[in-house]
């Protein structure tokens, strides 16, 4: 593993930034796929930022991957203790052009993340109000994007992302039903974690048109013995083996993100993000212990954290081979996948994953 993540340089050509070996087969593969004439699953990424800023290099990168769809986070909804109501948070603001949606990504799906505590706190009646207010907000964000880009970005689907629990299920599902009535001609989908996928009797089946199975966050971050809490193919297989058929049509999302779980002894001290490790000289202080574990050899201050000698950083970026195997396994398990997505679009995080992305997309 290379702890210092490489950056894409703005203004460079795509060839400068991508491995040439990876691009040529990719281009050939795209041509081949487009000429085959049979239906392929859409290739998608989650765009999970608060500003829309996709430069020309990134647009070209999307095009090279054959990305023809994006899940775009429009806003979050969280509970406000001050106001005692759910409130919109971190709304997407258009900073750059929106042209990339024309460039190989002709469709997008607005996504709204709603915290589970929102449903924990709201009165049942608020599930109705929230649906109405959120519908208006989504239209407003879509209008803002359209105004900023001089083009109306059509969408036929809206996705709700919420880690609901048995105690919030009833209010969440009621909200979904009400939300659907606000958009009768659009498809309403949800994200689905592996736990509700595996235990639908406990967690219920969301009353929506489809769901996207989010194949990550599989393990216990705080467990020192955990291999990788973000993604572990063996763990994913255990979940998949438990379910023969889920009652909803499913798409899938695989992780393209990670961090370092920071341990002192057996105790989790926190999460160290890749950018925090972009510090000159730091790589000489981190010694590879085994596999994805790095031992801190000397005390060192990061911007906000003080690592001590003897601390361990567990790299939790997904294993490349595991991702491809997961894509293969999911294709077998869920043959009707309409769209395969990666979470999330952050090119700095996946400079080493070009081939993996290509191979996973090529399977569908």
């Amino acid at each position: 593993m290379k702890l210092e993540m490489r950056r894409l340089k703005t203004g460079c050509s795509l060839i400068d930034n991508m491995n040439a070996k990876s691009i040529l087969p990719l281009a050939a593969m795209i041509l081949l796929l487009h000429s085959c004439g049979h239906d392929h699953a859409q290739r998608s990424f989650y765009y999970w930022k608060t500003t829309w800023r996709v430069d020309s290099v990134e647009q070209a990168q999307m095009q090279a991957y054959g990305v023809n769809h994006l899940y775009v986070r429009y806003l979050d909804v969280d509970w406000s203790d001050n106001l005692q109501i759910p409130v919109p948070v971190s709304q997407l603001t258009p900073v750059d052009t929106y042209r990339s949606l024309e460039l190989g990504a002709p469709s997008h799906t607005p996504v709204v993340f709603i915290t589970n505590r929102t449903f924990d706190k709201i009165e049942a009646a608020w599930s109705d109000s929230l649906a109405v207010k959120l519908a208006r907000k989504i239209r407003h964000v879509a209008d803002e994007l359209a105004n900023a880009t001089n083009q109306r970005a059509a969408f036929s689907e809206i996705q709700i992302d919420c880690d609901w629990t048995p105690s919030t299920r009833e209010k969440y599902f009621h909200f979904l039903e009400r939300f659907k009535s606000e958009f009768p001609r659009k498809e309403i989908t949800v994200t689905l974690r592996l736990y509700p996928y595996t235990y639908p009797q406990t967690m219920g089946i969301p009353p929506v048109d489809r769901a996207t199975l989010m194949c990550y966050n599989l393990g216990r971050l705080a467990d020192k013995t955990e291999v990788n809490s973000v993604f572990n193919f063996a763990e994913l297989t255990k979940y998949l083996n438990l379910v023969e058929k889920y009652p909803l049509q499913l798409d899938v999302a695989l992780p393209l993100f990670g961090w370092h779980a920071w341990f002192r002894g057996n105790r989790l001290k926190g999460i160290v993000y890749p950018r925090e490790l972009e510090q000159p000289g730091l790589d000489t202080l981190l010694l590879q212990a085994d596999g994805n574990r790095w031992l801190v050899s000397e005390d060192v201050s990061l911007k906000t954290k003080y690592l001590r000698a003897g601390d361990v950083l567990r790299n939790e970026f997904p294993d490349k081979q595991g991702l491809v195997r997961a894509a293969e396994r999911l294709k077998k398990q869920l043959p009707a996948i309409r769209r395969v997505a990666f979470f999330h679009w952050e090119p700095n995080n996946f400079t080493d994953y070009h081939e993996t992305i290509e191979r996973a997309f090529a399977l569908y």
Partner: protein, 801 residues
């Protein structure tokens, strides 16, 4: 450390009553919850530094001025301006506790009934104070505009708010230049600056406002000058000028310190440090650099001392270094209180579980002790200034001495300080005396106990936050309050001292008192103490958890005697629980401790002395007691069918009686294999794997495995069994010994086959690599020599398909 209720709890998989699959297990501990912090940063008496009290996790608080220093200053300035003896509370009521809408309604309707009796309002309504009234009205309109249009779902808010604020900026400028009184002039200018910032209008500000600011404000000591500096800085285009004004805002305003802190990163501060700033700005830059250092910052403190030898920021920064040292030297990963508890019972095996980390930990401790000496040297060299400043340095040095193990030195310094007039400093003195006394003296001595009692009660008198309410029973769902975490840490010092004292009693061999102190502390440690919502108060696991780990049967006798004691010393009364659990609850534990040692006859005597209905009426875990005979392994052993004779749940007394009966049978028939086989089956039933595990343990988890008892990812320790009973419970050693004895006694192939099967099965249960991968000689012997037996056929059909 964090109080019990300060937890994010996902406890389901740990509770006997909640055995269903769960996505999360155990409490999530965050660094501040495990801190043992006994140096109170408030001892520094530094104004406005509360947001920067040390916290490893949060870096700083999100509450800008928790002491409301700026607001108090503003009210005092208004009090001086009115010159009418108006109480500060009346001014604060209007300035900070009156909703703008309510104020504007009163202005519009000229209806002041809601403010009846408020001297400040009465003063404002006098005709000669019309200019002040007009200012306050406009200020409230601005406040309303900033926060009043608060439907967060309304997308038109932002535009309307900006339009109105732009208009206010110009109105304030106009009034500022026309104001006759400097007091109001400066406030209008500050309001204009603020509005210009919120509408992002630097052109208007630099052309119209900056010249007035430069003429009127810099030499003004008013609180609004600091506030105006902030907005002046934020509106400034030149980066150096911007920094200078922000640094001024930090220096002049407590409320704006946090926002200024957040505006700089370390790289910017490094550049500013060599940008030729004036001394005051350079001082603030150095303070910010120290505040932004998560590790050692002594070099920055030394820089600061060179720039401003008597910097008022220095004590607060020293307090941060001491709090960091507490983290590094006293946290559980190092030698924090819970780990001390562990050290008292730690086996060699546990000690050596992670040699690499152990080595690093030792080296870090040595480095940190060396750093402690450096900090102490610096503290000694800084001990100048006012009397209160010198008291701070003495308290700091005493604490560092304690951390370095020189309790006698600490005690001498603290004894040399008379009771201090500052409440914060006096609390620190008492904390230091408590620690040093506990370490230096025999805590079993009545006179020492009385002294400790006096320190603790005086601390509780000085700070109501130290009140020792009983630990709350946690509600079903608890949302962890991260923002309150740092302040909670400041409120649990007496609890931490109780935990500390408990440890001293444990080391002195007084387990009973140690447990009472541990329970009184009510702090979360790395042990599983039970987080139940459904147990009765009189038989709650929390009340016996400590004793479950540390007590002997004799400890429980002492506890029962203490419970009945008619007269107690002040210290004993202090540590007595406000409500005792049932005596039978303690007896249940005593019997259980005896069971773990296989002292069944004594256990039977204890259980027989209890109310026979206890396990039905008060025992929270009754549903986990077994049904049927203690020798019935049905449901555990695949080839044995459960007995059809299932009855009601059996009490611990009945099970123990059966065990005694089996022992009597063996005594009568010492050479009878069947009798020994029945006893072995019963012993197996008492293990983690058996139907009667509850005879041994008060909890069981699906995730619990014998090899996880110590290697559980560092989250919790479920049980504190002693090593012998642990081997019996998880490794079935006692049962295995008796199955082997059966082999030596048996003259019957069926019985021998049975014992071999059980030995094979025990091996499969207890091997780290469980199940079919386990290679067993017993199975080989069964196949080769006992394949003709009926049991082998049953075994084969159940297990070898």
């Amino acid at each position: 450390m964090k109080r019990l209720n300060g937890l994010l709890l996902c406890i389901s998989c740990l509770l006997p009553a909640l055995f269903y699959p769960s996505v999360a297990c155990g409490p999530l501990w965050l660094p501040d919850q495990n801190r043992v912090s006994l140096f109170r940063p408030g001892t520094s008496l530094s104004s406005g530094m509360q947001p920067f009290y040390y916290s490893e996790r949060l870096l700083h608080s999100t509450v800008p001025d928790p002491a409301d220093n700026d607001r108090r200053r503003n009210c005092e300035e208004w009090q001086g301006f009115t010159n009418a003896g108006i109480p500060l509370l009346h001014i604060a009521e209007i300035q900070y506790r009156t909703d703008p809408d309510k104020w504007l309604h009163a202005c519009n309707e000229n209806d002041w009934q809601a403010f009846d009796g408020n001297g400040f309002v009465q003063w404002l309504l006098l005709p000669e104070n019309r200019d002040a009234f007009d200012y306050l009205r406009l200020a409230k309109e601005i406040e309303f505009t900033q926060s009043g249009l608060t439907d967060p779902w309304d997308d038109g808010n932002d535009r309307e708010m900006k339009r109105r604020l732009a208009s206010f900026a110009r109105e304030c400028l106009k009034r500022s230049t026309g104001a006759e009184k400097a007091f109001l002039r400066d406030r209008y200018l500050f309001q204009a600056m603020k509005c210009a910032h919120y509408v992002a209008d630097p052109d208007f500000a630099s052309a119209q406002l900056f010249p007035l600011f430069d003429r009127w404000m810099p030499r003004n000591e008013s609180v609004v000058t600091g506030w105006a500096h902030l907005f002046r800085g934020l509106l400034e285009r030149d980066s150096l000028q911007r920094a200078v004004h922000l640094l001024q805002a930090f220096e002049r305003s407590d409320e704006k310190k946090l926002v200024v802190y957040n505006r700089f990163d370390m790289e910017q501060l490094e550049r500013l440090a060599v940008a030729g700033l004036d001394t005051k700005s350079l001082e603030v830059v150095t303070v910010l650099k120290a505040l932004k250092s998560p590790g050692r910052a002594l070099d920055k403190l030394q820089q600061l001392q060179r720039i401003t030898p008597l910097s008022t920021y220095l004590p607060a920064l020293i307090a941060r270094e001491i709090n960091k040292l507490e983290d590094w030297l006293w946290t559980p990963e190092q030698v924090g209180l819970p780990s001390w508890m562990r050290a008292a019972t730690q086996t060699e095996e546990e000690m050596s579980e992670d040699l690499e980390f152990e080595d690093a930990r030792r080296k870090n401790l040595a480095k940190d002790h060396a750093y402690l000496l450096e900090v102490m040297q610096f503290v000694r060299s800084s001990a100048f200034g006012s009397r209160q400043a010198r008291s701070f340095y003495t308290l700091a040095e005493a604490h560092l001495l304690s951390m370095g193990g020189d309790f006698a030195g600490a005690y001498r310094l603290l004894q040399g300080l008379a009771p201090l007039t500052s409440r914060e400093q006096e609390m620190q003195r008492l904390i230091g005396l408590t620690v040093a006394t506990a370490e230096l003296r025999d805590v079993r001595d009545d006179a020492i106990q009385l002294q400790l009692h006096d320190y603790l009660t005086e601390l509780m008198r000085l700070n109501p936050d130290f009140a020792l309410y009983e630990p709350q029973i946690i509600s079903d769902e608890y949302w962890y309050d991260a923002i309150g975490e740092v302040y909670d840490e400041q409120g649990d010092d007496v609890r931490e001292l109780l935990l500390w004292l408990g440890h001293r009693f444990l080391l002195a061999g007084d387990i009973m008192t140690a447990g009472l102190l541990y329970n009184k502390a009510g702090l979360e440690t790395e042990y599983y103490d039970g987080w139940y919502t459904f147990q009765s108060e009189e038989a709650n696991y929390r009340s016996i958890a400590f004793y479950d780990r540390f007590a002997t049967p004799e400890t429980i006798d002492s506890l029962l005697a203490f419970r009945q004691m008619p007269k107690r010393t002040a210290f004993q009364a202090f540590i007595t629980p406000s409500a005792w659990p049932l005596a039978d609850w303690y007896r249940d534990l005593k019997g259980t401790l005896l069971i773990r040692e296989h002292r069944f006859r004594e256990a039977l005597a204890v259980f027989s002395s209890m109310d026979p209905a206890f396990w039905q009426k008060q025992y929270a875990f009754a549903d986990y007691l077994p049904t049927g005979s203690i020798t019935d392994l049905g449901g555990i052993i695949p080839w044995r069918k459960p007995s059809a004779d299932k009855r009601e749940r059996v009490s611990k007394m009945e099970i123990t009686k059966a065990m005694v009966q089996l022992e009597n049978d063996m005594a009568r028939n010492p050479m009878d294999g069947q009798t020994h086989k029945a006893y072995a089956d019963a012993l197996l039933n008492l293990t983690y794997w058996g139907n009667a595990w509850m005879m041994y343990s008060y909890g069981k988890s699906d995730n619990e495995r014998y090899w996880n008892a110590y290697h559980d990812g560092g989250s919790i320790r479920l049980h504190g069994f002693r090593s012998v009973s642990e081997r019996d419970y998880y490794f079935c050693e006692a049962a295995i010994a008796y199955y082997k004895k059966v082999l030596s006694l048996s003259k019957d192939d069926e019985l021998t086959a049975d014992a071999l099967m059980m030995l094979d099965y025990c091996k499969r249960l207890t091997s780290e690599e469980r199940g079919d991968n386990v290679q067993s000689d017993y199975l080989a012997a069964l196949k080769s020599d006992f394949s003709h037996t009926r049991l082998w056929k049953a075994f084969k059909s159940s297990c070898l398909q």
